[in-house]
Symmetry: C2
Subunit: 239 residues, 2 copies
């Protein structure tokens, strides 16, 4: 299988760095292909505007989705976007590796999504959720937190981690069709000792090698919604 | 009162632009002071790393929070960060004006948070949530969506908008102590006609002028949590 890891950490010696380094080794050792976009090392530019395009549909008013649809037709994406689109379309498994910053993606990774997940080629015209471009492919978040697990429980101070990650798991990854696997989370990465970190590395190795057998997070299907995009009463009944 | 609007849209003629333009006019007309950080116009750089600092605590390993705490002590923030910190500390009301991109902040605005909300000066050492630096001050999201309101209901295809905004409202604004007001949301901004847009502008005007009387979103208090940051059973009882 083809693995694409989008890696967002400024410090190569960080634990995020160790997780991605190991992921490449472990996956390649069993015959998978791995591409890593190390966003800081690439000096990836996360700001979205006309710089995303070599083409131009409307010179007087910039609407990103209009320009994206146009660029899809005329092959008008800037070189940095084109390179990432090709990796994205090549992969069977997409992994985001990042430290949770302000309960979301670091800007360099959020901007990678803003710029690369383009209308036309990646979504739009009925291609979304279980009808999305990446249906049948898998995606997974791998992240580190500052605080301990208890802070992110359903009754924790910071709120439930699955709610916090919903806009990313559902709103980004599921939106474009991926089957989204449960996140791999290292809790309080900078507060734990080397022994615990080694155990996390082993656990991650296991997670990576069992991706094909790992059940995806269950989300309702497009067919469960009515013409106003409301869940049908029948879908609310448990079965 | 002092209003600080952090504005994130690449197109000055956009409806986001109209909302911020009007906000300044309306607020100044009744005697408030208004500062706008127009992130695209400023070419704000949202990438966080050593560029945030003129000081350096550890040259061998970059850990952002360590560098932030150090920079707080030695006044070691880069000029662009220093300028934003001063506006942030000056304001009584903070407003984020943005289009909802991939169910979150556009990267240029997420990076503004990543870089400006620094450990030491803005949070840390027990300064968080209702004990935060900005306690008693107010913050509000003002945003536009691509899809209609129905898509963002509790049973809507995209998920409940309040859950989607929780990581921003609670995890960013409340985390540093702001009283967070309900968001102002323009639904399907590019699909509605001029008449509806005019009505939205009027509604926003009203929202801005009634900010002092608007009740904040109710979040539990730090005192409601035990030493493991779990909500105490007593706080779960309704009263």
């Amino acid at each position: 299988m083809n693995f694409f890891i989008v890696h967002a950490h400024a410090e190569p010696q960080s634990f995020n760095g160790a997780l991605t380094y190991q992921a490449r080794e472990v996956l390649e050792a069993v015959g998978h292909e791995v591409i890593v976009s190390d966003l800081y090392a690439m000096q990836f530019d996360p700001v979205s505007d006309r710089r995303n395009f070599t083409s131009q549909k409307d010179p007087d008013y910039f609407k990103q989705q209009v320009e994206e649809s146009h660029a899809t037709e005329v092959d008008g994406f800037a070189l940095d976007i084109k390179a990432e689109l090709e990796k994205l379309e090549w992969c069977d498994v997409l992994i985001f590796q990042f430290p949770l910053w302000w309960f979301g993606l670091p800007a360099i990774l959020k901007g990678w999504v803003d710029r690369v997940f383009v209308m036309g080629r990646i979504y739009g015209g009925g291609k979304w959720y279980d009808n999305g471009v990446f249906q049948g492919k898998k995606a997974m978040l791998s992240l580190t937190t500052g605080g301990p697990r208890t802070m992110y429980s359903e009754i924790g101070l910071n709120g439930d981690i699955h709610s916090i990650l919903f806009p990313i798991n559902h709103g980004i990854l599921r939106f474009v069709g991926f089957d989204v696997l449960p996140p791999f989370i290292v809790w309080g990465a900078s507060r734990i000792g080397d022994e615990r970190r080694q155990a996390y590395l082993k656990e991650y190795q296991q997670r990576l090698l069992t991706i094909p057998q790992t059940p995806a997070i269950a989300y309702p299907s497009l067919a469960d919604f009515d013409e106003n995009f409301q869940l049908k009463p029948s879908a609310l009944e448990s079965d």
